[in-house]
């Protein structure tokens, strides 16, 4: 034990590798202290030999480990001294990894934020029936609200489908009916997905765009819950200081109907072509689910209430990164992708 303690303290005090070498020789070398002790083991009574041998081996191990540790400390000290001879101000070499699309990055944040308040994630079809996209949402045929969502109809050639029955969904809200008719409240769900509209493309509109639909139904869901949820979500996504404004609007599947605007991040509220000079950008239409929608799904509209909303995901992404054109999101130019 004495050998061990003195060896360890000497090692710790050593200032360079040369000294360390000497210590090693002094203890572990052919005529070193520990080696000699081991050689003298034959002088010890047989019954004690194994015990002493074991102890001696442990001491040897400790000394070796301490030596190695010290050695590596000295080595790195040495190399950090040497570092001064290379130009450390030159940029590092980054690993050659790729880039996840900003939509993916924001969507995974959105999912995360909603998970924290008990929302699950669902996924549904883009090729949709007129029923789920419109009728189950209190938008019968001939309803003028259909004008606000110009629809892309699918060609019915060689099929049994009646013209006009199968469309590309215009809104992820189409999933409200599909989900509600299969499950009883409480429901809390978000549905990210792509939508399609017959719309001329400009910087803030596209014929294909992403939304995150969300809704919850329970026995006691209130309009203040909707406002609170929207504020919570947008603060998480856009920062605590995000400026919000709620206005009245009309979608046949909600009553009361709410629209949510955030201050345009591109012009900071001054007005630009992206926000149509208003300084505000529509980001999250919402409302309390219309009793007719609850009834169509087989819910008792007197017992249950709910809210629904749709986040314009494409628009959220552009606002988040101050991209002034939605079309940048479908442009595969790596000069864009590499920024994310």
């Amino acid at each position: 034990m004495q050998i061990k303690n003195s060896a360890v303290s000497m090692i710790i005090d050593a200032v360079d590798q040369k000294e360390l070498e000497e210590i090693k020789l002094q203890f572990l070398g052919r005529s070193g202290k520990l080696t000699l002790t081991l050689k003298g083991i034959t002088k010890i009574p047989v019954e004690k030999r194994s015990e002493v041998g074991k102890l001696a081996n442990e001491v040897k191990k400790t000394i070796e480990e301490t030596l190695e540790e010290k050695n590596s400390t000295l080595r790195s000290k040495f190399s950090s001294l040497k570092k001064q001879s290379i130009d450390t101000t030159a940029p590092g070499i980054k690993p050659a990894i790729g880039h996840l699309h900003p939509m993916t990055q924001v969507l995974s944040e959105v999912i995360d934020v909603f998970k924290q308040i008990g929302f699950q994630v669902a996924d549904g079809p883009e090729i949709e029936t007129d029923y789920y996209n419109f009728e189950a949402l209190n938008i019968p045929k001939d309803h003028p609200a259909r004008d606000t969502q110009q629809t892309l109809y699918l060609d019915t050639r060689n099929s049994k489908v009646n013209p006009g029955e199968i469309i590309l969904r215009t809104q992820t809200s189409a999933m409200q009916g599909r989900i509600m008719e299969k499950v009883k409240p409480p429901v809390r769900v978000i549905v990210p997905g792509k939508n399609f509209r017959y719309e001329q493309v400009d910087s803030s509109h596209g014929f294909e765009f992403w939304q995150v639909e969300g809704f919850m139904v329970d026995t006691n869901v209130m309009l203040t819950d909707l406002f609170g949820t929207i504020e919570y979500v947008l603060q998480k996504l856009m920062g605590k200081n995000v400026k919000l404004k709620f206005t009245t609007t009309n979608f046949p599947f909600v009553e009361p109907g709410v629209d949510t605007y955030i201050e345009c991040s591109i012009c900071k509220g001054k007005g630009c072509s992206f926000c149509k000079q208003s300084g505000w950008s529509e980001i999250m239409p919402a409302g309390m689910i219309h009793p007719n929608v609850l009834k169509a799904a087989g819910y008792d509209s007197q017992k249950f209430s709910g809210f629904a909303f749709a986040i314009g995901l494409s628009r959220l992404v552009t606002l988040r990164y101050q991209m002034n054109d939605l079309r940048l999101l479908t442009n595969p130019d790596m000069r864009i992708l590499n920024q994310f």
Binding site: L100, G118, A122, K141, L154, N220, N250
Partner: protein, 629 residues
């Protein structure tokens, strides 16, 4: 809808600054898109939602301002009592309440058609309307003012003094006042005289019965049309008018008489003449205001705040809904111009929006968090995991359009065999993509001018099926690279498969193209095949207590012996072989790295030698392989 400030001020006292007024209108639901300053006025451009046809009129917008400001509105004073002064002119009207619920009208004799006075022309111009003559201008003016569409017929052109409202059979010809000819579809509602169609109801008047300079006597008609019929015809013809927009959304059914009176007052004032018929008001229903109940506790429950009852009453009063409170239930009387107020929730919205959404407190939902897996559940963590591996391997992610053009289709894919949009926005976006390859190849070449090394992937839907009966949408995971070799791509897919617990050889998903290496996986199929426990099915294997013996075995094998077969053949020779991999390949020699491991004891050289012999023997038998000298 345009709304000049000066015109609004005729009915309501406005003290708010234009910008503030615009913001308040937006908050209550009339989205103010623009405020236009002209030399003598300020014009608001408002977006009117489909449920508020009443706001397609200046008086309707003034009523909203009255509600916001809690002020009273001044309606225009109506003078005429609609009693005939002149000798009556005969007219027989045959109509059907099922297609024309209300026909309100009157005949005026001896008018003088001419230019409108300046004030009238100016007003129409501010509304982007072209002044035509005093009669047409008055009908347009009153529609813009009160919201009920009005049409004036030249009485003398109604052949046989007879008007019949009916539905078309289809194929009839109609020429509108603005000189355009239409072939009408079936079930358009029209008015005919003894010989011909003279009006396309709710949409446009006929050229053959309009008001022109020579017109002396007119029939003024203020109708209620059926929304769905108007909409269908308007859409079939691609013909919209201010009138059709109002009828489609639901006209003020109780407003026809006042609109007629207002029109008659102005005609008599600006064009002269005398009333020459009794009032026609043909209808089955009475079109009276209706009652709607609102339970205060229901209101509080839906809104989440308790607005004082006094405040609720003030709001309903300001909206002219005549509320009466008895025992926590309010009974409101809904004016006929508010066709959108039909259920209790509609009244709840009225109170909430005038109270102003921005004055509400904010709460987070309480209640049970659903724990049952939601229908259509999707595990996005799997997407994330796979995308992370791709990113780490140097691939960047793209999102591209689902819709592609016919010219994008590669050889071998016929446009007849893929799903098509009937009304594409353009020929470039007409078909649903059957593969992600098309857009990935485009993306590759697009980037070539700026980048040497390009590796891109997309996780998105493709659409299969030759027609809608077979239509399916499938998630594909595809990628392209011009800077990685086959084995790097294969290894990447192997890594993905390994991580999500799929035991499959990815070779069949990889395609070697001139431009690079491409892969495409049916991701939906993968989702189906992996169990929900992909994150939890990994089991830790305890570290071996005994050291392995590792050796490299170099053999000579013919070209056609496949490495994967040799490896599995080696593995089957002994349970003590823990792993086999190809270390090196040079000409016909291949070196395999073999790890022997016994869980229970130290392996000896003799044991390994025995296994090695067995390996060589079986390889020789199966593949005619020999040990490299």
């Amino acid at each position: 809808m345009l709304a000049p400030l000066s015109w609004l001020k005729e009915y309501i006292d406005i003290t708010l600054a234009p910008k503030e007024l615009g913001e308040k209108l937006t908050e209550v639901g009339l989205g103010c898109e623009k405020i236009i300053k002209t030399s003598d006025d300020i014009i608001f451009e408002l977006e009117i939602t489909p449920n508020r046809p009443d706001c397609l009129s200046i008086i309707g917008i003034a009523r909203e301002i009255a509600a916001i400001e809690n002020k009273k509105i001044k309606y225009p004073i109506l003078k005429t009592n609609l009693k005939p002064k002149a000798k009556l002119l005969p007219l027989i009207i045959k109509t059907d309440p099922n297609i024309n619920p209300r026909f309100t009208g009157i005949i005026i004799k001896g008018i003088k058609v001419g230019e409108s006075p300046k004030w009238l022309k100016d007003k129409l111009k501010k509304m982007n309307q072209r002044p035509i003559n005093n009669i047409v201008d008055i009908t347009n003016y009153v529609m813009l003012e009160l919201g009920n569409p009005i049409h004036a017929f030249d009485y003398d052109k109604i052949i046989g003094n007879m008007m019949t409202v009916s539905k078309t059979k289809g194929g009839e010809k109609f020429e509108s006042v603005d000189d355009i000819s239409y072939h009408l579809a079936k079930d358009a509602v029209v008015i005919s005289d003894k010989e011909k169609i003279i009006d396309l109801c709710g949409i446009k008047g006929g050229k053959n019965s309009g008001t022109y300079e020579e017109t002396k006597n007119i029939l003024i008609r203020v109708p209620v049309e059926i929304s769905s019929l108007t909409r269908r015809t308007s859409q079939a013809l691609g013909l919209r008018s201010d009138a059709s927009s109002i009828f489609e959304r639901g006209v003020n059914t109780g407003g026809t008489i006042d609109a007629l009176k207002r029109t008659v007052d102005l005609v008599l004032e600006l064009a002269g003449g005398e009333i020459a018929s009794d009032l026609y008001d043909i209808k089955e229903k009475d079109f009276k205001p209706w009652k709607l109940k609102l339970r205060i506790d229901r209101l509080n429950k839906i809104l989440g705040i308790e607005i004082p009852i006094k405040k609720i009453m003030v709001i309903l009063e300001s909206l002219n809904l005549s509320p009466i409170l008895t025992k926590n239930i309010i009974e409101a009387t809904i004016p006929t111009y508010r066709q959108d107020l039909k259920i209790e929730e509609d009244l709840i919205e009225e109170i909430a929006r005038i109270y102003n959404y921005n004055n509400f407190p904010k709460t987070l939902p309480v209640g049970e968090i659903p724990t049952i897996q939601v229908p259509y559940f999707k595990d996005y963590r799997l997407d994330e995991k796979i995308k992370n591996i791709l990113q780490a391997s140097g691939f960047s992610e793209i999102y591209t359009y689902s819709l592609i053009g016919e010219k994008d289709l590669p050889d071998g894919i016929n446009s007849q065999d893929i799903l098509r949009v009937d009304n594409p926005v353009s020929r470039d976006f007409e078909y649903l993509r059957p593969t992600l390859k098309i857009n990935l190849l485009k993306a590759l070449s697009q980037n070539k001018s700026n980048f040497e090394n390009i590796s891109l992937f997309e996780l998105g839907k493709v659409y299969s099926g030759k027609n809608l009966d077979e239509a399916k949408e499938i998630y594909f995971l595809s990628g392209i690279t011009n800077s990685k070799n086959f084995f790097e791509v294969k290894g990447l897919l192997e890594k993905i498969f390994e991580d999500i617990g799929i035991n499959e050889n990815p070779t069949k998903y990889i395609e070697i193209l001139d431009k690079g290496i491409f892969f495409e996986l049916n991701y939906s199929e993968i989702l189906k095949n992996i169990s929900a426990s992909w994150r939890t099915n990994k089991v830790f294997k305890p570290l071996p207590k005994y050291p392995p013996i590792v050796e490299d075995l170099s053999i000579i094998a013919t070209e056609n012996a496949e490495t994967t077969d040799i490896i599995s053949e080696i593995k089957t020779q002994s349970p003590l072989i823990a792993d086999v991999s190809l270390l090196d390949r040079f000409e016909n020699s291949r070196t395999f790295h073999i790890i022997y491991q016994d869980k229970n004891k130290n392996l000896t050289g003799e044991e390994v030698a025995k296994i090695r012999e067995k390996i060589l023997k079986s390889l020789k038998g199966k593949f005619n392989v020999g040990l490299k000298e």
